[in-house]
């Protein structure tokens, strides 16, 4: 503890080195999963649709007729060079798919995360602070119910109520057809694109389309925050330093707001990181429910077409994103809390 070898820089280096085996194992797992499947990717996606000779030709062209280990080494090399492959069914490079549809997912998950943090932190802190009162009861019940609610069910109910019944908000897609057709894409993040062009009406339209999916996904994710923050507050309130602060005569309000809450919120950073994986899973469902053209929905449609290379490429990117986020979270944590740098 606290010796020479525990500087922040050294911790970061060790952490980065640990990423290498993790990424390697993930890549291997994905490769194995996709190859354990019966037959080869080409026959699976094209089988029955084109003549057998054609399948053989494409197989040879893409190198699927070679021994598995050769394919494996080449696959690793490609991924390391940032080449995630090309979809068979529509010949789109995975990189393009990530760029175009990834922006839609990013926009959705970003706003969902904001909703989740605001709702989750508020309810979590209140429930933990007023433990065993009706506030706690209400907060916990809300947390449990929202966790028990599948995101697609909540989305469906929101569509029924705000879309069909009240008619306030659109229930499908990222923008109205007209806006979608005329929109100039700079970043593919529609809220930013419309702001760049100072197109007020289009911006309002895009935001309206964003509200239901983002709030749905955000609320469901908030359940995780509520539960964890509540337990954290309860744990922190039992700590010695809280007792010490009270003993020093600091008034209860200040003890709770300045001493307890601040420490109870440090682990939230970690949770935000863990939630990214959850959000990505939720995004697949939310995008399918709201017909949101993000990566998740794209993945599902490639799965339906049995396009193995596309599925493989998208999954690798998902996995890499999760690993990258976990590294960033560890860095932030180490920066904030010196005890972590063991």
């Amino acid at each position: 503890m606290g010796g020479k070898g525990t500087s922040l820089r050294q911790y970061l280096l060790t952490r980065l080195l640990l990423v290498i085996p993790m990424v390697f194992i993930l890549l291997t797992l994905v490769f194995l999963l996709m190859r354990v499947a019966p037959g080869d990717p080409i026959s699976a996606s094209l089988g029955g649709r084109v003549p057998q000779e054609e399948v053989e030709r494409i197989k040879a062209e893409l190198g699927y007729d070679r021994p598995v280990y050769v394919q494996y080494v080449e696959y690793l090399g490609d991924v390391l060079r940032g080449d995630f492959g090309t979809a068979i069914t529509d010949s789109r490079p995975i990189g393009d798919i990530i760029r175009d549809n990834g922006a839609a997912t990013l926009e959705l998950t970003f706003f969902a995360m904001i909703v989740a943090i605001v709702v989750g932190v508020t309810f979590g802190l209140l429930a933990g602070r007023y433990r065993d009162t009706w506030i706690d009861g209400g907060g916990r019940l809300f947390g449990i119910l929202i966790y028990a609610m599948p995101v697609f069910f909540l989305g469906l109910m929101a569509q029924l109520f705000f879309g069909s019944y009240l008619g306030w908000l659109p229930t499908s897609g990222r923008a109205s057809p007209l806006v979608d057709a005329t929109l100039v894409t700079h970043t593919n993040i529609y809220t930013i694109d419309t702001l760049i062009d100072r197109d007020r009406d289009a911006f309002v339209d895009v935001v309206k389309h964003l509200i239901l999916p983002a709030v749905t996904l955000g609320l469901v994710t908030a359940g995780v925050f509520i539960r964890l923050i509540r337990v954290n507050v309860i744990r922190t309130m039992k700590d010695d330093y809280i007792e010490a602060a009270r003993a020093r005569g600091i008034d209860e309000r200040s003890v709770v707001y300045h001493h307890a809450f601040r420490n109870a919120l440090v682990p939230v950073i970690t949770v935000v990181g863990l939630t990214v994986a959850l959000l990505l899973s939720g995004a697949v469902l939310t995008e399918t429910t709201f017909n949101w053209p993000g990566i998740g929905k794209t993945l599902i449609s490639y799965l339906e077409n049995r396009d193995y290379p596309a599925v493989q490429g998208i999954i690798i990117v998902f996995a890499l994103v999760v690993v990258a986020v976990s590294v960033v979270i560890d860095f932030v944590n180490a920066y904030i809390d010196p005890r972590i740098r063991y």
């Binding site: 999963l33 609610m149 697609f152 069910f153 069909s164 697949v284 993945l299 339906e304 999954i315």
Partner: protein
């Protein structure tokens, strides 16, 4: 009301099932909201288990029945009526019957997947934690890799790959869910085993010359396995959500194999635009209710078993002055 001045203390009778009593003691000790959550959760869970068992008696129709001798072919998308309490869906089947039969499907899948993931995850965790070394390092890396993977994607990919070979039935769904949860049990059991391994009583057993497997079986296992019931209950809740998600995306149970709530909700999405609510609302409520029940049960179990969160019954300690008699033990 007169209170006798002296209460005769009945000497404790020798009790049978001491171990079981001790294991359940924290549950009897649970107070306040935890106790309430425990009973409500257990009640809901039990009710669903009963519905699943009695499905043949309770369900008015078969899960895929779309005509009856009396009515002929059922009307498509009929609003809730006396014949169909929750209406019919786009395939003319009875929504209520699908929910009741669906209970059976959900519980079967959850049961199989929990059984599989516990019987794989727990032994691996014990071995890995107790022996350490290279095996441990490799297992931890693989499990961590599986763990960071977005769980739903993992389940989808497994279900997708198995669909070709095994078909899309209860077993495929259960295996897809198992793969997601094995790393969880592995992690919890391994970490706990590592801390138990260094306890004096294990040290003592080792000093007496007990074989590693005897130590694991007799000393480590029972200490570690305590964590499993709350975890498994919370897991069951999560597994229901995962199964429903698989069904919603079309990688769950084939409609010909059984009724499944997530699949029903997927079919209901296209009804929503025309304001038809009964096809989606009821299966969704079934999911919410069952998952809520399991979560309440699991959370209250872990609160009663986890000493950090446990609130015990306050024993009255009589100190003068009587105004401050209730001493907080925590």
């Amino acid at each position: 009301m007169t209170v006798p001045a002296q209460v005769e203390r009945v000497p404790p009778r020798p009790q049978r099932l001491v171990g079981a009593r001790r294991a359940f003691a924290p549950i009897a000790d649970a107070r306040g909201m935890t106790r309430w959550m425990l009973w409500v959760g257990a009640g809901i869970t039990l009710a669903f288990i009963l519905v699943a068992l009695l499905a043949p008696v309770l369900a008015p129709y078969e899960f895929d029945q779309f005509r009856s001798p009396e009515e002929g072919r059922f009307v498509q998308l009929e609003a809730p009526s006396r014949d169909h309490l929750m209406g019919t869906n786009v395939q003319s089947t009875d929504v209520l019957s699908r929910i009741i039969w669906g209970t059976q499907t959900e519980l079967k899948v959850v049961f199989i997947s929990l059984f599989l993931s516990i019987s794989i995850g727990v032994p691996l965790g014990l071995l890995s934690g107790y022996f350490g070394g290279k095996l441990d390092r490799v297992l931890v890396l693989v499990m961590d890799a599986l763990f960071v993977f977005p769980f739903l994607l993992l389940a989808i990919v497994i279900a997708f790959l198995l669909a070709d070979k095994v078909g899309q039935g209860i077993f495929t769904a259960a295996i897809a869910i198992t793969v997601v949860y094995v790393p969880l049990y592995f992690r919890v059991v391994r970490n706990h085993t590592i801390s138990i391994r260094e306890e004096p009583f294990v040290e003592a057993a080792r000093a007496l010359g007990a074989k590693p497997f005897t130590i694991i079986r007799k000393y480590v296992f029972f200490n570690v396995v305590q964590n499993v019931p709350p975890l498994a209950t919370l897991n069951a809740a999560d597994a229901i959500l995962t199964l429903a998600a698989l069904g919603f995306l079309g990688y769950g149970i084939q409609p010909t194999e059984g009724a499944e709530w997530g699949y029903d909700i997927q079919r209901a999405v296209s009804d929503a635009a025309s304001g038809i609510w009964w096809t989606g609302l009821f299966p969704g409520l079934a999911i919410v209710l069952l998952v809520t029940g399991l979560t309440l049960l699991g959370e209250s179990l872990s609160e009663t078993i986890n000493p950090v969160l446990r609130k015990r019954r306050y024993e009255r300690v009589n100190l003068a002055p009587p105004g401050v008699a209730e001493a907080e033990l925590e």
